[in-house]
Amino acid sequence: MRSKKKDYLSRFKNQATYYLMCAPGMLWLFFFSIVPMAGILMAFQDYKPKKGIWGSPFIGWENFEYLFSMKDAQNVILNTVIIAFAKIVLNMIVPLAFALMLNEVRRVRLKKAVQTIVYLPHFLSWVILASVMTNIFGYDGIVNLIRGLFGQEKAVFLSDAGFFRWFIILTDVWKEFGYNAVIYLAALTGINPTLYEASAIDGAGRWKQTVHITLPSLSTTIVLLTVLALGNILNAGFDQVFNTYNPMVYSSVDILDTWVYRIGLTKLQFSLATAAGLFKSMVSFVLIIVSYSLAYKFADYTIF
């Protein structure tokens, strides 16, 4: 029989161990995330570097009022939502379609080869891809070369604001589809093969099997991933846009993050930039909570 005291002690020891394990990560967060958060105050100040964050005068919501009164800011928020939303949807559908297509391939080596190759872009940085992509879609790039083969005139894609938004969305989907398909491919292998055998005996073709067996089996995964992506609605991809865009296309692809960067670091409007950043964080935070409760309520799934 263990004594109560010893039991208590060992429980205390367990707790202490857990806290100790968390300590390095929490310290890291504290110094590199939490301390810099003092800067959020700047959003409510007329920040003066000389006076610093603790000495600058507070001006309440003025930065936010100005922010939301700017047409530019409204446009930027709209761009962000459109681009992020399109990316979320397409990053769901395209990898799914790809996974289903790849699943049909019976030649194992071909399948492996294709799978390996399509992961590749995921591992390249936008710094590199942006410069390559703008060449490929440039006036002398291969895209125009191919258009030429079909007798079409060379087009100047990169100054076309309408085109550029799709360019941003689709190159992102292209970069990530192979990688995003991983989860579907894994889920596909988890489907019980007897289901297919049974339906084959019933005379169902491949297409019918896909619609009636494969998709329903994946539905939980799909719904879950969609819900999880919700928190990203204002994350339209700084690295990609920042490295790819040009002033000609600001109207359609300038997003919150790039705008904050330019206003803050090239125009020195520190407080305004911070206010915009805070706005983004707030929206993301609310959405994450919503998706957390949705996932918990409908899929009984705790994200974190």
Binding site: L158, M248, Y250, T266, K267, L268
Partner: protein, 554 residues
Amino acid sequence: MKKLLSLLLTVSLLLSLCGAAIADEDLAFQKFDHVVEVHIGMAVEPTDVTLEEGDTVDNNYYTRYLLDNYNIKVVVDWTAATGDDFNQKVALTIASDSLPDAVVVSDRTYFTAAAEDDMLYDLTEVFDRYASDQVKAIHATTNGKAAELVSYGGKMLALPNISVAADGVLVMMMQQNWLDELGLAVPTTVQELHDAAVAIRDAKPAGERTIPILGAQKDSRVYADFLHSNFSFGFDAIFAAMNAYPGYFVLDGENKVQYGTLSAETRAALEMLAQWYAEGLIDPEFATRDYSQDVVNANECGFFCGPWWALGYGNGDSFKNSETVDWQAYPLFTDDGVWNAKMKTLGTSYTLVNCNVSEEVAAAIVIINNVLVANEAVFQNETAEDIEWYPLRNVLAAMDECEYTYRAEISVLNGETEPDAWQNEPNYKLLAADTQVVRSIVPGYKQGEILHRADFLYTSDTESNFQRQYALLIGDRPYATVELNNPVYSVTYTTNETIDRYWANLEALEGSVIRSIITGKSDISAFDAFVEQWMAEGGEKILQSVQEEYDAAQ
């Protein structure tokens, strides 16, 4: 202890006596009796290879020169690539109130932000005491504009940059050999330019890659504005020939301040440029190309707009790539034969000095500036190291330096004067060297005739002299020899609080509307919507504030 104290007292007394005894000009070039450290931030070219083996950004020909002769030790706290990276660094140091002792910033935004927040050293007295006569004389050539540019709240808070006026006079550069080939006269008006461009488009002298008129590249301005000038590939000459001055604050007939971009003339010019773009006269890659300069270097365009140095200095590779190419510069006139040109402000960079430095360091910074101005020509003969490595390089040139040099050189070429006559003119720092080489670089000169490329001596040894002389004698010929009937100045070349508040947004708006109209992405009606939006989003307040400043100054 007592002894030591009295010794110290004597020494300091002696020192102060010495200080009082030294004449002004000696102060300007004094050697400190101990090493004075100056910490700076610096923009560098990531691909520059002119530093000697083993030399570094703060240990090279220039820094050793300053240390040996003046006991000024330059310590480079940080460097970043010219352009965005450097600007970002400056922004961060301002934001965190950690400016180095001195840094040369390239945009007025940084100057005003730092000045507004009391981060800058009041240079009024130090400059007065330590600036050399030469520097003061060059300042004087601006009629007080230089002082005005760097004063904030009545104090001198930066060293101004004064560059030659010719930097801001943007003229048409033309590939004369194409015009000759096609039997075309030099176009002098917008209509003639159009017709010549059509002829080039149809004849395709450079094959499929022929571009009649080259324009702005990606991320670049379509015309100079009141804050930025001195760059190629805008359409300034074309706008000006249609009496349009976009980017400038100009006065209408009733002394009311207007913003040039909003004018009916600008609208008309834009409509025409859009038409030209549609006709294939303007680079199809306008505003998206990575480097417009590549096209000029390959000699694949007929016309582009640029300042004097765009020829020779600017397109050195053109001459390497072709022996027959003959680039020429001409102004573009209105239909009534008037040459209009937007004039730039003095210079656009500012040497900022941190308010926390000691007087000694501030003096050292002024002296560094004196030394550069006095010895720039000497440096170029003594070291292959690029002048950009000079710490705190701040261009100071008399505003008429190019034209003055042009006239001096022509008189030397004509035999009216000898080079010796030009050896002692401190306000024109490269004049002595220029007049000495000009006869050998331009052996084909004939009095009264326009110079062509063939008149120049071009070998790998003479390349740098060739480039400079080509720029001076051909690039600057329009401004030096043709009467500029209507120089147009902006009412202001600086921002005020109102402009600072709204400009970021308005500038972006303007840029995108202008580009999309020219490229036909929007039709001209977008212009009217733009005018309205510009006014509504702060433009009206800006005009009012500039008007008030103007009225107050009158």
